[in-house]
């Protein structure tokens, strides 16, 4: 591969006298950043993300991507630093930012205070307190589906189509208050959302050509009249009625709900099934103590990060890991790499249910962390509690297919056998 570890680049954008904005003078920065001409959004990179992103992580703390003109880090500690410090690493822009995107840009490209006001509306609707009221419903649906699937004993199936997709496309749109028809479109839309967070490459155009027809459908589902007034999505409009946000913002928040809670959650839970199948001792631990169901997804999205990269823009000259990044630079945190950084994680490539998992960035980190994380946690907890009661062992019976997407990462299809308990 074409990683070029020895190359460095100058500290573009710095003043010659060495004075920088910000409080602390920068030192040891004259070497410039390590660079690479490797295309991190090539098919080679997407198909081999664990190896390629790890190579960038090990090349240097911060690496400049020549092809795309931005900096990335694959280190766990530096990624945490970037994601926690929103004042320095702003979301006002990011690599490949397009204000006219078909994605909802609300929340993703705001900083406080407006970000906080808008986020609180959706966060309240998806909060742990709100999820307490959903727990019985999610568990009932998970039990019902697993009972149906396991009714005839040991069964062969495709993880996404026959199991995880059926569960999530039932409980999540039900919770939002969406009609039963057309829910598969949420998967196509999820693909568009994550692909268009990356560069305008062949995948970007392909996703719009193949799935663009769902955009009209998605837009119609966001209208107030399309939503069950008792569902969670309609609460966005109630917040607008109350003057907390505008009607336009309410519609965009519904679009956020539709964009982020289906495809990505399914990939996350499918990854958890894969982890449990590849590390069967962990499944034994879950069967012995179903309370561990809460931990299954948590470790899965560290082990197989759903998002490959998160983007930011620097608001000042800043030193990161010994590299000076000039003000106004775009940059990315490489989550697949950071979530398996051996500096932070013992045996990072192993799926371990009992790992001290706090500090993983499977949901991102900081103020822009996944706003729906309490929903995903509850969905997964109920799902794996149900499965652990009826399934003795999970066996992968064919080659798992990787997600092929600029930003989303993981397993899309996986033939499995569920051996009856």
């Amino acid at each position: 591969m074409a990683l070029s570890g020895a190359k460095t680049r100058g500290t573009r954008g710095l003043r010659e006298d060495g004075e920088h904005e910000g409080e602390s003078p920068m030192s040891v920065l004259t070497e410039g950043a390590a660079t690479t001409d490797y295309d991190i959004f090539s098919m080679d990179a997407i198909l081999n993300a664990h190896e390629r992103d790890a190579a960038i992580r090990e090349q240097a703390p911060v690496v400049y991507l020549e092809q795309y003109d931005f900096y990335v880090t694959g280190r766990h500690d530096l990624s945490q630093q970037v994601l926690q410090d929103w004042q320095t690493f702003s979301s006002a822009s990011r690599p490949f930012h397009d204000p006219n995107s078909v994605r909802p840009e609300i929340l993703l490209v705001d900083d406080p205070p407006r970000h906080t006001q808008v986020k609180n509306v959706i966060l309240r609707a998806l909060s742990p307190a709100a999820m307490k009221t959903m727990k019985d419903t999610f568990q009932r649906e998970a039990d019902r589906l697993v009972d149906e699937i396991m009714a005839g004993g040991t069964v062969e199936l495709e993880a996404r189509e026959d199991l995880v997709g059926r569960y999530i496309l039932k409980v999540f749109p039900d919770m939002l208050g969406m009609p039963a028809q057309g829910r598969q479109n949420l998967l196509s839309y999820g693909g568009i959302v994550f692909n268009t967070l990356g560069p305008e490459n062949a995948l970007f155009h392909q996703t719009l050509e193949e799935n663009g027809h769902v955009l009209d459908w998605v837009a119609r589902q966001c209208k107030r009249e399309a939503l069950d007034p008792d569902g969670i999505a309609a609460q966005m409009y109630v917040a607008a009625d109350n003057g907390e946000i505008t009607m336009d913002e309410a519609e965009l928040l519904v679009l956020v709900l539709l964009s982020a809670g289906s495809d990505s959650t399914i990939v996350g839970i499918t990854g958890a099934l894969r982890g449990m199948a590849e590390f069967p001792a962990e499944w034994e631990k879950l069967k012995a103590d179903p309370a561990k169901a809460r931990l299954v997804l948590e470790e899965a999205i560290r082990w197989q990060s759903i998002t490959r990269m998160l983007g930011r823009v620097t608001t000042r000259d800043v030193e990161l890991g010994g590299t000076l990044i000039p003000k106004g630079s775009k940059m990315g945190t490489m989550m697949v790499a950071a979530n398996r950084d051996h500096r932070r994680w013992d045996r990072p490539a192993d799926y371990q249910l009992d790992r001290k998992i706090a500090g993983h960035m499977g949901f991102g980190a900081g103020i822009h962390a996944c706003v729906g994380q309490a929903v995903a946690r509850l969905e997964a907890e109920c799902f794996f509690r149900a499965l652990s009661r009826r399934v003795d062992r999970i066996e992968i019976t064919g080659a798992p297919e990787p997600v092929i997407n600029n930003i989303m990462h993981g397993t899309v299809r996986m033939p499995i056998t569920l051996h009856a308990a």
Partner: protein, 107 residues
């Protein structure tokens, strides 16, 4: 280094040293204090680092931050006026000896 004292529901006490700047949640995780989970990693998006600040320390610790009430509503254990999310309490020398009581459960 400032110390934090974690008191378990059964009365057991753990006294640990905190790095100034670390939260009470992070300090617990760094020292394997049982009873603090910290699912969201300190992003104020869960309620699994819930503690009850000892009455003697409530004034020094100060009020809940914006957004904390909304998350605390989702806590598994009872919420009292002493309830805080420990990811939002940052250790400093003024808080040396801070005592917090752990709830029965975090989820």
């Amino acid at each position: 280094m400032p110390k934090v004292i974690y008191v378990a529901p059964d009365g057991g006490r753990r006294e640990v040293e905190a790095r100034p700047g670390d939260s009470v949640m992070q300090t617990a995780l760094n020292n394997d204090v049982a009873g603090i989970v910290g699912e969201c990693g300190g992003s104020l998006m869960c309620a699994t680092c819930h503690v009850y600040v000892d009455d003697a320390w409530r004034q020094a610790v100060g009020d809940r931050v914006a957004g904390e009430d909304m998350m605390l509503e989702g806590a598994a254990a009872e919420i009292t006026p002493a309830s805080r999310l420990s990811c939002q309490i940052v250790m400093c020398d003024d808080l040396d000896g801070l005592t917090v009581h752990l709830p029965e459960t975090q989820y």
